[in-house]
Assembly symmetry: C2
Homo-oligomer: 308 residues x 2
C-alpha cells in the first residue's frame, strides 16, 4: 500500500467529482483532470473551481468522452482512472473502457457510481433502467478484464439532510414531514467530502481490487423515522408525519412525467425498498469505515446541528 | 386525409402514452399496444389501464424494445408507429428504427418527443445531453429515410399547472411563488389529453409529413408572470414573488446531484431561456391549433379554475 498512484478524474467539476478531485490532491496523488473546455468562460463557477484545482497542483487536460484520441492520451499519463460523469453520461463511459483497454496499463478504474449498489436494487421504472445502465457498464468493465472498484456511497448527505428529502425546502421542516413507506428502511447518508476521501483511499488498496467499496458508516445508517427523531430531538419539537404507502408512491411515479419521476423512483428504491441496507456485504465487497477507521467522517448528527 | 391508419403505440401505459392510446381509440384508429408483460399483475394500475384499452378495442401485443422479433412482428401489423417510451429509454428507440427499416412499409413514425423542440434549445447540462439524445434519434430516423412527425408539445399542463411548477406542493401556491429568471419568457402548457388528440390528428395528415408539429396554443402560451397574474386574479390575492437569476439557477443546477438536477436544467431551458417560444416556426414545422382549429383544447384559464 506504499504506492501513490497518478489519478485521472473525468468529470472533476461535477457534483461529486469536485470532492473526489479535492481528496486526490489532498492525499498527495499526482492528479490529472480531463475537462471539456478548459478555457470555458461561460461558467464562472466552473472556471473558479478549475483555477483552485490548478493552484493545488492539478494538471488540466483538454478532452472529452467523444474524443477518443484525447481520452487515450489522458489515460496514458496515469495509473488510475476515476469517472465522476453525470447520470446522463453513464452509457458514454463505454468510451472510457475502450481507451483503458487500448492503453492497457491502468491499475484501477472507478466508474461513475456513487449511489445504490446497482447489482442489489429492487427499483421500479424509470430508476430500474437507470440502475441497469450502470450495471451494464460494470459488466463491460469485467468483460474487458479491467481492474476496478465500484464505490457504492449511498445517499449524498448534502442533498438529503438539509431538507430531510422534502422537495421545495431549503432547511429541514419544522412542522410536517412526508415519509415514503413506513419509514423503517435504513439508508446511509455520507457527506460529499467523505465520499471523495473514501474513494481516493481505495484506489491503491489491494483489499478493494475488483470489489465494491460500500459506505455503511455506522453513525450515518438510519431509518427515516430515526432521522426525523434525531431532528425532532434537536429542535425540541414533534413534527406531523405523513406516511405515503408503497402503493401510493408507485402510483405517484406513474403519474409524474420524466424527469421528475426518476427522483421519486430512486427514493422508492432507497426509502421504501431499503436497497442501501437490505443485503449483506459479501466477499466481493468491503465496507469503508472498517477499511479506513482513521477517516473522521461527518456524522448525520453533526450535519443536522448546523440547521438548528 | 380520408385514410384511418392502423397505429402501433409503444409505451401506452406511460405518462403521455396512455393519452395517445385513448385518442387513437377515440378517433377510430385500429390500435395496437406493445406491452412488456401483458399479464403483469404486480402493477394493478397498469393492468387496469390495459383492461380499459382492451374494452375500447385495443389489440395488446407482447414484446419489448429489446426483443427484435417482437418489434418486427408488431410493426408489420400497422401503418403508423408512435413511441411514447419514457425519457430513460430514448436511446433504445434505435431498435424501433431498425425494425421499421426492416419491415419497410411504415407510413409515419412519431418518436417519443412531447416536450421542447430539441433542435431549438439553449440548455445547460444535464438537460443538454438529454435533448441531444432525442436529436440523435431524429437524425437516425432521417438517415434511414423513415417518414416522421416530431411532436413538440411543450409543457405538460397536468404537471406544471396544479403547482405552478413549485416543488413539493399539491396545489397552486397562495402565499409565495418562486420564478426562474425574470418571468418574461413564454412557455406553452398543453393538457395531456389534448397532446394525445393533436398527435393522433397528425398521423394521417400530409401537412405534418416529415415535419415537426408544434403545439403553441394561443390561449396557453404564457409567460410565468402572466401565469401567476392569472392565478392571482382568480384567488383575488397578490403573491410574494421570489425571482431567481439565471446565474443562481445555473449554480443551483451545479450544486444539485443527478437526477434532481435534470428537473432544474429543463426548467432553465423552458423558463429562463424561453426555448419553447424563442424561435419562429419554419417551413419544416406546423402549428397544431392552426392545422386543427376544431380541437377544443383545455385552456390554462379553465385548468386553473379547478384549484380556486
Amino acid at each position: 500500500m506504499g504506492s501513490i498512484s497518478r489519478i485521472l478524474i473525468i468529470g472533476a467539476t461535477g457534483y461529486i467529482g469536485r470532492h473526489v478531485a479535492k481528496a486526490s490532491l489532498a492525499l498527495g496523488h499526482p492528479t490529472f483532470l480531463l475537462v471539456r473546455d478548459a478555457t470555458a468562460s461561460s461558467k464562472p463557477e466552473k472556471a473558479q473551481l478549475l483555477d483552485s484545482f490548478k493552484a493545488s497542483g492539478a494538471n488540466i487536460l483538454n478532452g472529452s468522452l467523444e474524443d477518443h484520441a484525447s481520452l487515450v492520451e489522458a489515460v496514458k499519463k496515469v495509473d488510475v482512472v476515476i469517472s465522476t460523469v453525470g447520470g446522463e453520461q453513464i452509457a458514454s463511459q463505454l468510451n472510457i473502457i475502450k481507451a483503458i483497454k487500448e492503453v492497457g496499463t491502468i491499475k484501477r478504474f472507478l466508474p461513475s457510481e456513487f449511489g445504490n449498489d446497482v447489482d442489489n436494487v429492487h427499483a421500479v421504472e424509470p430508476a430500474k433502467s437507470i440502475f441497469e445502465l450502470k450495471a451494464k457498464v460494470r459488466r463491460a468493465i469485467e468483460a474487458e478484464g479491467i481492474p476496478y472498484t465500484y464505490v457504492s456511497s449511498n445517499c449524498f448527505a448534502g442533498y438529503f439532510i438539509p431538507t430531510l428529502a422534502q422537495a421545495g425546502l431549503t432547511a429541514p421542516p419544522r412542522d410536517k414531514v412526508v415519509i415514503l413507506g413506513d419509514g423503517n428502511a435504513k439508508a446511509v447518508y455520507v457527506k460529499e467530502e467523505d465520499v471523495g476521501t473514501f474513494a481516493i483511499k481505495a484506489v491503491d488498496d489491494p483489499r478493494t481490487l475488483n470489489k465494491t467499496l460500500y459506505l455503511r458508516l455506522p453513525a450515518n445508517t438510519l431509518s427515516f423515522n430515526e432521522l426525523v427523531a434525531l431532528w425532532e430531538k434537536k429542535i425540541g419539537k414533534t413534527l406531523e408525519k405523513v406516511y405515503v404507502s408503497e402503493e401510493q408512491v408507485v402510483k405517484l411515479i406513474a403519474e409524474t412525467p420524466f424527469p421528475a419521476n426518476i427522483v421519486i423512483a430512486i427514493s422508492h428504491s432507497i426509502f421504501v425498498k431499503g436497497d442501501q441496507t437490505n443485503f449483506e456485504i459479501g466477499p466481493d465487497g468491503a465496507e469503508g469505515s472498517q477499511l479506513y477507521p482513521d477517516v473522521k467522517y461527518t456524522t448525520v448528527d453533526e450535519y443536522l446541528s448546523k440547521f438548528v
